[in-house]
């Protein structure tokens, strides 16, 4: 027995700019990602996508392909192992002959090498029965329907007051339709899995945002007890929502490994990243704002049209932020979907808020122009004291502070309200602002804290660090809860051998996992105190589950807020547009690690630059797939596009949202960014772009 002491340190770890724990591994190239686990006798799998958008697979040339030396097996619906589900999910891989969209997985080759697998996959011939398809989202489509709810469980429509009447009697009205194209998440690490069977036990090395949900789903699909499946996801090369749920490749890897009775690895190609791993739906959004002579909003309507697939329904909550952003006696939000012969859309960084706030915050800018008010002043006049939906007070709402502090830091007072008023040689220069918001929520999680006889601690839960800095932030949270130096705490995550935890998503990671870590560490500290600090050789552990605590707590509207300021330069001749400066101020509760939090915020804002100026997945109307399926044709911002991005935050601690007082910073950076840039573009050029991306042809006519 040894004694472990926990004392209250004077300097909390939370709030310190601690370098990422796994940083040295990442810069040395020794951090191991899913595809990189060395395994003997591993076979390579390559997925084959459909070349039709709708129909059935009639036959394949699998027999001929099996003759290629080095090919181990060709899988199709004809011979793939049966899963617990046969349809209704993107995960029903090779369970039927049905083709629901172009590039859907219809076959797979397993071979001795990557080169042989890709060669054989390319040579596989597939015959189809072709059926007509519809892939284009149109606002007047008679087949639009009203989903029962929108992601993850919001009411589809809301209505209060008399919107049409209020618009008729408003002194100022803005009524425009805004469009965002489809976007593909494109984390730098494509989805990858290695599956290894030992008897009926399955181990999967997988790139995901939540190993626990992947395990649960694999167990269900393969009819295994959860305990027979282990998922390891120690390092994950980004996700941005695309890895939030298990994707077909992890199922395919497990299936293929079963069939060839060897470990099998598979990585999604970049081209396939545009096919079956999710994307953000395109949106068509009509926003109507009515205001009185003093610029007070009297009516808000936000009507959204978006798409889903014929396989499963995903309804992005695009208008949901409009429900709480601004006051107005009359309000309406609606969402309508069209089932198309396309892949199922899904989560992408700030689903709902990201496209929705582009439309709303562009419309607010247009209202500022109509009312001749400064766009900051207009927002301040309409900053509601309580949640417009419920009348309940916000846990904290510091939008005003963000706008004011941002205006000061950015130098907003120097702005000319009139468009085309500033120039620098051939460049037209303009500035714009937009508000940001994102909900502050938490999911239940488990966590285990161990005291070791040597005075160190292990804190373990199946959280995910997809680049967010979760490993580091949770270490800091644990250290404070234990009253220990961070270097005495080892944080284990990304392995289902640890306590079950929710996925990384919805800016809920720190909140959900941190909550459980805090409780586990508090519990351990109490146990240690009760035991007078004595720790048995095997260690002393406390596991907690925050389910009850989270379910019991009172519900109140809780959101992070922010204000983003953009300066754009537009070449008057060519229409070339560059974001010279982007500055955001956020109210996101307590910042656990200013170094990693700043990185997340500027990362989100930079992705917002990409969204504003570059990104668009182009639909191929003739063939039915996304046409620009590589990183040369689907451009994302690169270094030269990003001269100056600054993120700041105001001092805020919201003790209602969780024990750490932190709201989460993963998504809010991308919310409102594109609107700030579009608003700045208008200020520079006098041209209002309502359909993203803002490309030069829209500015030179």
């Amino acid at each position: 027995m040894t004694r472990t002491t926990t004392t209250t340190r004077t300097t909390p770890a939370i709030g310190a700019a601690m370098t990422r724990i796994e940083g040295p591994d990442k810069v040395r190239g020794s951090a191991t990602y899913a595809y990189e686990y060395p395994l003997d006798a591993v076979a390579y799998c390559c997925a084959v996508g459909s070349t039709i958008a709708h129909g059935r697979v009639r036959s394949t040339s699998a027999d001929a392909i099996r003759q290629i030396p080095g090919v181990l097996e060709v899988l199709s619906h004809a011979n793939a192992p049966r899963l617990a589900i046969s349809d209704g999910s993107e995960l029903a891989v090779l369970q039927s002959d049905r083709v629901a969209y172009r590039r859907q997985i219809v076959a797979a080759v397993v071979a001795e090498s990557f080169e042989i697998a890709t060669e054989a996959a390319g040579a596989l011939e597939i015959e189809y029965d072709v059926e007509p398809f519809a892939v284009e989202l149109k606002s007047d489509d008679p087949d639009l329907y009203r989903p029962d709810k929108v992601n993850p469980g919001f009411p589809t429509d809301t209505e209060a007051g008399d919107v049409d009447g209020a618009l008729r009697s408003a002194a100022h009205v803005v009524d425009h339709t805004y469009r965002t194209p489809a976007y593909h998440n494109n984390p730098m690490e494509p989805h990858a899995s290695i599956a290894v069977w030992e008897g009926d036990d399955l181990t999967v090395f997988d790139s995901n945002q939540g190993a626990s949900p992947v395990r649960a789903r694999l167990a269900e699909l393969f009819g295994l007890p959860t305990g027979s499946v282990r998922v390891v996801s120690e390092h994950v090369g980004g996700g941005f929502g695309a890895k939030g749920l298990p994707r077909p490749v992890v199922v395919l890897a497990a299936m293929a490994a079963r069939v060839v009775d060897r470990p099998v690895k598979i990585a999604v190609t970049r081209e396939q990243m545009f096919a079956f791993v999710g994307y953000r739906t395109p949106t068509i959004q009509r926003v109507q704002l009515g205001a009185d002579a003093g610029g007070r909003i009297t009516a808000i309507a936000h009507d959204v049209i978006e798409q889903t697939s014929t396989i499963e329904e995903f309804a992005e909550q695009t208008a949901v932020a409009t429900r709480m952003m601004y006051a107005g006696a009359s309000r309406r939000t609606t969402h309508r979907l069209r089932r198309l012969d396309v892949p199922t859309p899904g989560w992408m960084r700030a689903p709902g808020e990201c496209p929705g706030m582009f439309a709303l915050e562009s419309a607010v800018d247009e209202l500022a122009i109509a009312t001749r008010l400064d766009p900051i002043e207009l927002r301040l006049r309409n900053d509601p004291p309580t949640d417009p939906e419920t009348g309940a007070p916000f846990t904290s709402r510091n939008l005003e502070a963000c706008l004011r502090e941002g205006a000061r830091l950015f130098g907003w007072s120097q702005r000319h309200a009139e468009p085309r008023a500033r120039r620098d040689g051939r460049w037209l220069v303009g500035t714009g602002v937009a508000a940001s918001t994102y909900p502050a929520r938490a999911r239940a999680s488990k966590a285990t804290a161990w005291a070791r006889p040597d005075g160190s601690f292990d804190v373990e839960l199946c959280a995910a660090d997809i680049g967010t800095g979760a490993r580091t932030a949770l270490t800091q949270i644990a250290a404070d809860a234990l009253g220990a130096e961070p270097r005495r705490v080892r944080l284990g995550l990304g392995d289902t051998n640890f306590s079950e935890a929710p996925l990384a998503g919805g800016s809920m990671g720190t909140s959900s996992w941190g909550w459980a870590v805090t409780r586990a560490c508090e519990g351990l500290r109490a146990r240690l105190a009760a035991a007078n600090g004595s720790v048995p050789v095997a260690g002393l552990a406390v596991e907690v589950d925050t389910k009850d605590e989270i379910e019991r707590r009172a519900q109140r509207p809780a959101h992070a807020f922010g204000a983003q300021f953009a300066e754009v330069r537009v070449d008057e001749d060519t229409g070339e547009i560059r974001v010279a400066r982007l500055l955001g101020v956020f109210a996101a509760g307590r910042i656990v690690n200013p170094m990693t939090a700043r990185s997340q915020l500027i990362g989100g804002m930079t992705m917002g630059i990409s969204m504003a100026l570059l990104e668009a997945s182009l639909l191929d109307r003739e063939y039915g797939d996304y046409l620009n399926h590589d990183l040369a044709q689907y451009e994302i911002a690169t270094c030269a596009d990003v001269p100056m991005v600054e993120a700041h935050w105001i001092d805020e601690r919201d003790d209602f949202v969780n024990p750490m007082g932190a709201k989460g910073v993963g998504e809010i950076g991308i919310v409102g960014t594109a609107a700030a840039i579009a608003n700045a573009t208008y200020n520079a050029t006098g041209v209002r772009v309502r359909d993203l991306p803002i490309r030069l042809e829209k500015l030179i006519g």
């Binding site: 060669e119 060519t574 070339e576 182009l618 620009n628 590589d630 911002a637 690169t638 596009d641 030069l696």
Partner: protein, 334 residues
């Protein structure tokens, strides 16, 4: 990728020998060919690596021209002090293309022969007359924002992706090739073909030809040159439009002009009509406008790329105006 045999000859004679085989593809830096092999667009039986043939020198010649070996890497062309001093448009064009890594790999011979980045050409599951003659051209009514406004046909509107070749076209460069029958010089003006009804045939290279070098003739005395490229991303992107301009002004009038456009045509487009308008004309924006308008009379924009007409016009005027503004010898900036 399909299986292939890899051969790496160490002398030109052997390489020329090997090249006379329809199953052979010649490999330079690989930045385009290896990529096309990965996506199944190119499926050679034999790959002949031409990077170790000693064609990696840049040579100054007595007539003032520069001979750039076919295997010289793009970085080395752009960094060469002779190129920078005497052919700044060439250095600028090369540096405007691709990324640092790719320029370290890509050879000048390969750069000339790179294939279009048209989305349909790069997708073997779709029709493309260039890749599969007679299969159709979905770009005509499909995604054509990036594609040609000049020189296209109903069979193909792909653009040539090279920046370097645009500058070389304005510099009246020639391509030196060797075949089993001997050496041959092909002016760049005759090197590329318009698609017509055979978009699969892109050049007039003789059968089995090995590109040995590019000759860039001595610069015109007193002329200045520059390259302008417009793209969506600020770097690492193909041109929506680009302009290579060479201009000499004497007594306020155009004494020499060469204009080549990139990103708007199936080949680096020499604006001969505009040049004819400009020769001897006053070197001012009005005349520049009139000249490029005459050139662009022939433009056949598609729904998504009509903006390129405006863009190319404005770019040409800017390039020429800025060249005038550099204060040529004996010429006052207007």
């Amino acid at each position: 990728m399909r299986r292939f045999e890899y051969l790496r000859p160490l002398d030109r004679a052997r390489a020329v020998d090997l090249a006379a085989n329809p199953e052979v593809k010649l490999l330079g830096g690989g930045t385009n060919l290896i990529d096309l092999m990965k996506i199944g667009v190119e499926t050679p039986e034999i790959l002949v690596d031409t990077t170790r043939l000693g064609l990696d020198e840049i040579e100054s010649r007595v007539d003032g021209s520069l001979r750039i070996g076919a295997s010289v890497r793009n970085t080395d062309v752009a960094s060469d002090r002779r190129v920078r001093a005497r052919f700044p448009v060439l250095s600028a064009a090369v540096l405007a293309g691709a990324s640092g890594q790719l320029r370290n790999m890509a050879t000048v011979g390969g750069n000339l022969l790179q294939r279009t980045r048209c989305a349909y050409f790069q997708d073997v599951t779709k029709a493309c007359n260039k890749r599969k003659p007679g299969s159709g051209c979905p770009a005509q009514t499909g995604a054509n924002r990036e594609l040609a406004i000049l020189g296209g046909s109903e069979h193909c509107i792909a653009t040539h992706p090279s920046d370097m070749a645009v500058a070389l076209r304005a510099l009246d460069a020639s391509v030196l090739v060797e075949t089993e029958k001997g050496a041959q010089t092909i002016p760049l003006a005759d090197f590329y073909r318009l698609p017509g009804d055979r978009p699969d045939i892109e050049t007039n290279l003789p059968y089995g030809a090995l590109i040995v070098a590019i000759d860039v003739p001595a610069p015109v005395d007193g002329a200045r040159s520059s390259y302008m490229k417009v793209r969506d991303r600020a770097s690492f992107g193909f041109a929506l439009a680009s302009v290579a301009g060479v201009l000499r002004v004497a007594d306020g009038r155009v004494a020499h002009v060469a204009l080549a456009l990139g990103g708007v045509a199936p080949l680096p487009w020499r604006a001969r009509i505009a040049e004819a308008h400009l020769m001897g004309a006053p070197a001012d924006p009005d005349h520049f406008h009139a000249a490029i308008d005459a050139e662009l009379q022939a433009a056949q924009p598609r729904p998504e790329n009509a903006f390129k007409v405006t863009l190319a016009r404005r770019m040409v005027v800017r390039v020429l105006t800025e060249l005038v503004g550099r204060g040529e010898v004996g010429v006052a900036p207007s």
